[in-house]
Symmetry: C2
Subunit: 250 residues, 2 copies
DNA sequence: ATAATAGTGTCTTTTAGACAATATGCG
DNA sequence: CGCATATTGTCTAAAAGACACTATTAT
């Protein structure tokens, strides 16, 4: 018995109806100080006209490649472009409840992305209207994308605690104040400037100095700030914990 | 244009060849003090005779249900059984590289389980030989299951730090020493008894006293230990961090 | 000049971890 | 009895967090 026919014998199409696999991407960025997510307006049924996460079917490629391809298509960035390469992408989790898509059984592998400031999306080719939306204003997404977004936000908030990925929201050089603004936007909390500053510099490998400073002070005054780039740490130790949330413990 | 036909128009079978979706389960338990994983011997090609994670095709059910069903089938536990209900199961991540299964494109949604001591698996019905193996002895798994297992172990180790899930490896009542043995087995490190004891009791909601003690002391002497059950915390705060691994930070 | 901000200093509280001490109960 | 173990005590170091202070620069 050949491998193929044997497999098909095990694979009873009645018991296992055909399944589609898609990737959906939660790409986050900071725009005007607000944590924002890339959404597209659906052109077709179901959920026509509703906002949804960018995504599409997986082709003959890895899941990671599918996620990056979808991201490129929806942002209108060229695959080789530097800005695209600087987006951090990681798998979030998969969603496969029967009925989550009314058309057929669809398993969606969701990805989470952290992007530096990007140009406004160009509705490149077949892509529907895409735009950045502050996450606080988002509601009534298509499919179960509201749940996916919520899971992505929680992952992002947790990730900033123990990984240096906050720097993925910034350019190659940044000030401690800019880094603090990322944490404030993602966590939705103000952070104490002095303590944050000392803490960041005390974590080995989080950031390294460039030796340079900004060419001018802040908008409303203040000294020039030193510039840093991302260090070589992959884990923050000790971690930068969110302000105590005793309430959320139980 | 109907919803179905419209979908099919978008879904070009050339560009998107048919895909199978499976669940694979990394179930961990503590046996004789060693962290162990449930594996099955493959009866069929490919990888005939090799050990693999238990798993199978997703039917008309949620992914979570599929994982619990596969777990029940491979352990021989009845679906309604109490022991099965006490197994903690959570989604790990998905694996979908083209070529990871030589027969066709297979996307596998992996689950991670924490089980209390279970009876030896009964090769229930069509299930292949299943048994528990100490994770340290495992090698050469079928497919990419070695990678899946490694990811599951890392998740389990991290999870013990900030969640009370270590108690899922134990019965409903346990001593602090038993809990410490779980941490030692999963992390592969000895922990200081005195400091561990005080730390566990200091974390709000981690464990609560039953007021009872064991009926006799340890095998080789010592006083009777107090018994505890799992508390109502879902997050440990402050967390129980692994002994410093400065080395692994970069 | 005024106000805002970068960066540093100081102090208190919490937590981690090393180590010791005491009491209990098995063989 | 002798030893292993449960539990508690003590002390030190690391880290978190509150708050104050100085220097710098935009307006």
């Amino acid at each position: 018995m050949g491998v193929e026919s044997q497999f098909l014998a095990e694979y009873d199409p009645t018991a296992y109806p055909s399944v589609a696999v898609t990737v959906d991407v939660v790409v986050l960025t900071i725009r005007d100080g607000a944590l924002s997510v890339l959404l597209v307006e659906r052109a077709e049924h179901p959920y026509q006209g509703r906002l949804a996460l960018p995504g599409g079917f997986v082709r003959d490629e890895t899941l990671d490649e599918a996620a990056r391809r979808e991201l490129a298509e929806e942002t209108g960035l060229r695959p080789g472009e530097d800005a695209l390469a600087r987006v951090h992408l990681e798998q979030l989790r998969s969603y496969g409840d029967p009925g989550r898509d009314p058309r057929m059984r669809v398993i969606s592998v969701a990805y989470l992305g952290f992007a530096p400031s990007l140009p406004d999306p160009q509705a490149g080719g077949d892509a529907a209207k895409a735009a950045w939306f502050p996450v606080e204003t988002v509601r009534d997404l298509a499919f179960d994308h509201g749940l996916v977004l919520a899971d992505g936000l929680e992952r992002a908030r947790a990730k900033l605690e123990y990984s240096p990925l906050a720097t993925a929201f910034l350019g190659p050089e940044f000030t401690i104040a800019e880094l603090r603004a990322v944490y404030a936007a993602v966590w939705g909390e103000q952070l104490h400037a002095g303590n944050f500053h000392r803490k960041v510099l005390s974590v080995p490998g989080f950031v390294e100095s460039t030796g340079e400073t900004t060419t001018r002070g802040g908008e409303r005054g203040g000294p020039r700030a030193r510039l840093y780039r991302t260090g070589d740490a992959v884990l923050l130790h000790p971690a930068l914990l969110r302000p105590t949330r005793e309430e959320q413990v139980r």
